[in-house]
Amino acid sequence: MCSEPGQNLIKESIITDKLERVVVACCTPSLHEETFRKAAETTGLNRYFLEIANIREQCSWVHSDMNEATLKAISITSSLIEKIKLNDSLVPIKVPVTPKALVIGAGIAGIQASLDIANSGYEVTLVEKNPSIGGHMAQLSETFPTLDCSQCILTPKMVEVGQHENIELITYSEVSEVSGYIGNFKVKIRKKAAYVDHNKCTGCGDCTEKCPIKVISEFEEGLGKRKAIYSPFPQAVPNKPVIDKEHCTYFLKDGKCGICQKICTLKAIDFKQEDSFIEDEFGAIVLATGYDTYPKENFSEYGADKYPDVITSLQFERLVSASGPTEGEILRPSDSKIPERVAFISCVGSRDPEHHLPYCSKICCMYNVKHAHLYKHQVPDGEAIVFTIDVRTAGKDYEEFFTRVKDQDNVLYIRGKPSRILKEGDGLVIWTVNTLTGKQLRIKCDMVVLATAVVPTKEAIELAKKLKIQTNENGFFSEIHPKLRPVESMTPGFFIAGCCHSPKDIPDTVSQASGAASKVLEMFSQKELSLDPQIAFVDADVCAGCKLCIPVCPYEARVFDEKKRVVEVKNALCVGCGSCISVCPSGATQQKNLQDLQISSMMEVLLGS
């Protein structure tokens, strides 16, 4: 029926038989309701006078007894006929669109989405929690499989964002409130006090140089130090420092120190600065909040909570980065020696549903290949050993890269997950088994790199709660359809890009970011948006004003009219979830085209047969 001849059949029948209502018995409405309603509309019939009776997913696919299933299909269809008799003619709700996008998170996903939207001529506000944009990609050394220098390919984009006329960059900030609905969001952004007036500051760096306080650097993953007044890395955008209040002597010791203030000739240091708030309106919001890595301290069996030479892969990235704490020399943290044998362990936290996380973090297999290569490139006489369960190289040129590195760099792959890492002398010993040969192994090495799992950021999880954005059980943002609508959040107006959706590598992240941007642009190309009118309404004559429905509404779509003493529905916010209807004691709240009377007549058919 969904084919063109099938649709034509319906159209012809509406015209020749003068049909007033149509029920199509077929698959789920989520697939073809729109197809059929569009077809019906071309004949002049109101689109809500066509309904779908789902006899596939809810009937034929779930039953094996054909005769009984046929009877059920008939009663499902009959129930829809009863329902549609009472349907009203409805008109979609039209709302205006504010053609300005908010992008939350300025890693490579947020950067790409912002640039794509901004280059199409629309305004973008890009919010980043850290003092600089760049995200994790700025920390990486080289990228697989091409071995491009990560910073070299990222920094031009960072600069472009910083200078783009359509992009307003708000760093060291976080989204604190979002209200409104698709096309019309009102957003409040909290800009954390930097204690540096960035309008005056030129980023000369004198203050940072003279600051006497050294703090463990987040950007260096704990392997290096930064100052209390700092910019996270030399290529930072904006390249202007912030003061870390938690460690600054001025704040800790009641006004003592203040060296930065004394030497700043531009008088940019402002210890009295306070958090400020920026309010703005947006039509669409792109979520690009990125990822964290699963804490290595969770692996006491690997001594990761106490041995300095058991490091994470992100720490290894910093060790091997030219801009890193060792200027790119691979030196182990405990004694700065060149490790002669390095072990890389896969699936640390990933694929462990019993204790940690059930999913595959997707990128680890490939960066292990890259790390082994980078190590061997620098220490040709050293040995790189990778411990794996499986090696997953699904990606363009990935398997070829893996094969080449193993062969050319003599990288030893051992199939087996280690159970213990223990200190022995000044090195480490790994207990494992090679499950391909069956040999039990105690392997000495000088440094161990754990491929800790990719997890959503804690800010993303808080944001999801605040904005009522649906996530999966692991805290990654959910898309509407895993195959066909992969960049749209379940909440209308929100789009998803990058690792906040699921672990993914840079090419996939950039593709998804461009996808999210194109969805935003699709929306902005319309003057107004059409929303589904099958939502709740209140019969003001029946409503007693008990307000029970107000707190249960997840979308804040219900307000109490103090004058009329009844509840009213904000049409653009209501999605027709029905929560209000279930609590309304008087039946004053009903859903359009799904009123009590319709449901009871459907039930009569379904239960009566």
Partner: protein
Amino acid sequence: MDPKKNITEEINEEIREVLLEEGAEGIYKCYQCGKCTSICPWFQVGLYDFPVYRFSLETAMGMVASSEDKDELAKEIDKIYRCVGCEACVDQCPHGIDTPKILRAARRLLVDFGSYPEVLKSTVQKIHNVGNPFGEPIEKRADWAKDIDVPEFQEGMEYLYFPGCLPAYDSRNQNVARATAKILQKIGISFGILGIKEHCCGEAIRRIGAEQVFKEVCNANIKEFSNSGVKRVLVSSPHCYTTFKYEYPEFGADFETLHITQFLSKLIDEGKIEPKKEFKKKVVYHDPCTLGRKNNIYEEPRNILKNIPALKFLEVENFNRNLSVCCGAGSGGLWMEWDKDERIANVRLKQLIDTGAEVIAVACPYCLQMFEETLKSMKTDIQVLDVTEILYESI
């Protein structure tokens, strides 16, 4: 020259089905990572190839306990009865696969055919016949309590103290039962013992694979407890604890079980026991597998020891709590005869001795027995004491 035998094999669906019926679970979840194998205490012994990671897949292929060749079968039996049920593998498995349970299924199959180690056959028989694994007479079961006047359990008493077989019969372990009873008497707990009506809990025979005998023993005990009006049981052995708590209810048991360290730790916290006398020794605590990993009871024994004045408490760094290493006595291991150098207990004792402790504190009769026996062949002055013995000396 003998003609060469074809060594290729076909999947044995029949054996697979039997093993699944006998309780092998989760075998298809295994992705063969091998973490189980190097966490197994046999890995640390280092003299014996014990590929734990293969059992799931071999069960799925019906290739466990399936050899038709006699010598091959003997090797398989040896492997299947190596497992001491310490569950270190279960604790570390990313999918929580219970390999000891898979092996128990294989053991049941072997027991059904009578093809299991002779020494264990005799253990099972003794438990079946006289209610203890040593073949000691039933009448002697309460001898440990002779001179300390412990009453027989009567309805209305709050607790049944169930020492278990080793504390009832083994001369070294009897001191644990006595120390426990004396502590309970001293603080005025209403309790009694079953005396000669007490029988083995059957935990070991279930793990050996003798399911039928276990069921008989279990049902008889449930009947005895129920007739005596037992509502709460205090046990010395984590093994009795586990089977009473998790396995007896399957057969209709309705009583609460507490391990003695749980009970005493709580009394210390409530101020009802006040350890006063100094115990001026360096004491290392050994987490028994069945108390720790299996039952998550890590803090209570530590709490008791840390409340004893002047006691210097030590941990086995890297090998404590869930990473503790078995004494080797579980799941029938107590009776198995392995070469002197090939014992798990030696490995564990070395770790305990290396802490520099003067005393090893245990909270399981198996560990006590195993360590005492093994120490006889080691040159060391270290002493093994149960937590209750140390506590008794301090009050």
